[in-house]
Symmetry: C2
Subunit: 422 residues, 2 copies
Amino acid sequence: MNDAPADLLTVDQALAVLDEAPVRPRVMRVKLQDAEGFRLAAPVVADRDYPPFDKSLMDGYAVRSVDLQAAPTELNVVGEIAAGQSASVSLQPGQAMAIMTGAPMPDGADSVVPVEDSDSAGPNRVRLLATAQAGRFIARRGSDCAAGSVLLEKGTKLEAAQLAVAASIGAAEVDVFARPCVAVLSTGDELVPIDQTPGPAQIRNSNNIMLVALLRRLGCDVTDLGSVNDDPKLIRQSIEKGLQSDILFVSGGMSMGQYDFVPKILIDLGVDLKITKLRIKPGKPFIFGVKGQGARGEGQVYSPLAPCPSPLAPAFVFGLPGNPVSSFVCTLRLCSRLIARMSGWANLDRWISAKLSAPLETNGPREFYQPAVFDGSIVQPLKWKGSADIYTLAMANALIVRPENAPARPAGAEVKILEIPS
Amino acid sequence: MNDAPADLLTVDQALAVLDEAPVRPRVMRVKLQDAEGFRLAAPVVADRDYPPFDKSLMDGYAVRSVDLQAAPTELNVVGEIAAGQSASVSLQPGQAMAIMTGAPMPDGADSVVPVEDSDSAGPNRVRLLATAQAGRFIARRGSDCAAGSVLLEKGTKLEAAQLAVAASIGAAEVDVFARPCVAVLSTGDELVPIDQTPGPAQIRNSNNIMLVALLRRLGCDVTDLGSVNDDPKLIRQSIEKGLQSDILFVSGGMSMGQYDFVPKILIDLGVDLKITKLRIKPGKPFIFGVKGQGARGEGQVYSPLAPCPSPLAPAFVFGLPGNPVSSFVCTLRLCSRLIARMSGWANLDRWISAKLSAPLETNGPREFYQPAVFDGSIVQPLKWKGSADIYTLAMANALIVRPENAPARPAGAEVKILEIPS
């Protein structure tokens, strides 16, 4: 291991290191239909007033409110305006026009009477059963948003509603932050692929499929490099391949044992290890390194159809513990920060306050992330058997965060939880 | 409109109707690598004990605890066991074996001393600086889970941790519920595609891109049928095409105006309208219909690579209001229930209790879903301008649910919110 001064950082210190990493997100232009799930690299601005005209909010009759100070009142129907059409004439005293929801108000009209409040009174004649107030059932021009106003800020995630906003003002293409390209590698003689039967001292490689899914959920384009045996030459080859990506995730081979080659190989390959150990539970062995200077991807033209961009310095490396729960927690709590910065936004974290269903004991000297089930109000801590207990993690939808040396908490106390994305 | 007795249902009544719809989810077998985001159609069961042997949890020395009742103690090192290997001999009194994290304990050993608590004491000799207790730093065979235990229940969503569990026991293929195949269609003369400049009385079709994104987020395979003008023949053609899917979503053309053809055409095509109006705000015009009898997809062999299965009765239809906020709320609150049932699980809803940042007025006679921002503890109601105000919805990450005729609530009161998926 190297003797980095950053030995045994707290989680907050580690996050500060990640916030200093020389990240510059790539920007790409995509069709709006392909933009789902990306974050805006530039604001979306209204190109004109919306609605662009005074618009009826009801199916009914466009009227002059002065004509309808008493009810019932009969008016002459002088036309009809469907959505997508405009009236060619102005409304005169004593007149009404049939109007559809979404259609532009005719000149002269200042109110709408819903069709439910009307009766026919013969050809081209309507009996209106309600009085009218000026402005009622009308959306004024520009009342949704005025020309030039920022409708979606830079950094906004484009989901259903945001796509509708961008579509409504004709942003048929948008600038978004590209997904980070990441690679996942596991090391260990004990690992066999998931479709093979392990020998008596072997286990299936569950870390890769887990990390691939979690990193996709966090917004990455993921390459699965599989697993390699504890052979320095093979590990080095795979790590060199992984360093072509924006971020390489290596799990296993990270602690003090004599077969743990990864830190040595990283140093050998010119990776500057910024974090080597962490006071987090589960997940003590944890490495973060940077290879090369400058801003990766700076000035690159990026196409969503092209493969991951050719390597420009720097690349980042996370070394994760071999056991899956630790890998999961470290990725969700720490690596997500760098991913967020590379994706052009501040943070993927989502903290929620929740009431404990059961008491919690005093916590030890490491920040602790305890698997739990959150029902929208109450959080139930799950009994788990340590950092190899992926089975309990799989029943959780949240992690209770226990600060270092946190005191015991009674049932009913409020705690901070981190949701597990799904 | 038809005169269905189900006129003006409450939201709960509408949900009850959806819970009665004749749904039978399709099941398909997929490789675990392709199973991300799907829900299990059958439980995942442990094929053997995990761990399958007593396993070291530390890098260090496997010892007999009786040899280490005092510290320091020197022992003869008679071998080493890497992860993936097994010891060929038993540990005798006075002996230790070097052992790696994850490696099987040798016979005779009952404890591990971490490498940090050791010094070399010459060739094949170690000085151990700590005493040992039986069972310490060991995971017992079967302590994670015993052979035959259910690790993932039917209906579990396969995300990172669940995939790791399935991988760990060699479930290289799993039975999952297929995604519902849905089609999205908008109607209206006023609509133009998002890359065209609308005329003075036109608007861009933002409903389709919104519904496509939302329905994908809710777990559907979505076909975008675009928009059609208010022409009964064209609408009928598109609806017939959409009824090839499991669920057709039609937005617009739903209310009482004379250009609202959709309900008539649906009845004409043999669709049984189970819901025609709803007491929900926003979103009053709302249709749910069923075409045909029997369970759609029953007995079908389904391949994830094949297109949507050929039409078997019944197909379902949702008619949504033309304005996007109403469409969004109805889809998230109501249509999601049918999607959930077709995906083989109970409910997509996710309620959270949150404290109001500001008072709320008395609610009217319709259940009301108010766009809001939830920060993990406090929920801030957003001022919005009615059901056409997609701009405010795009700033929200949650909807505050106001029951029918709910009384005013002060700041600080707890309310139920529905998260907007993202």
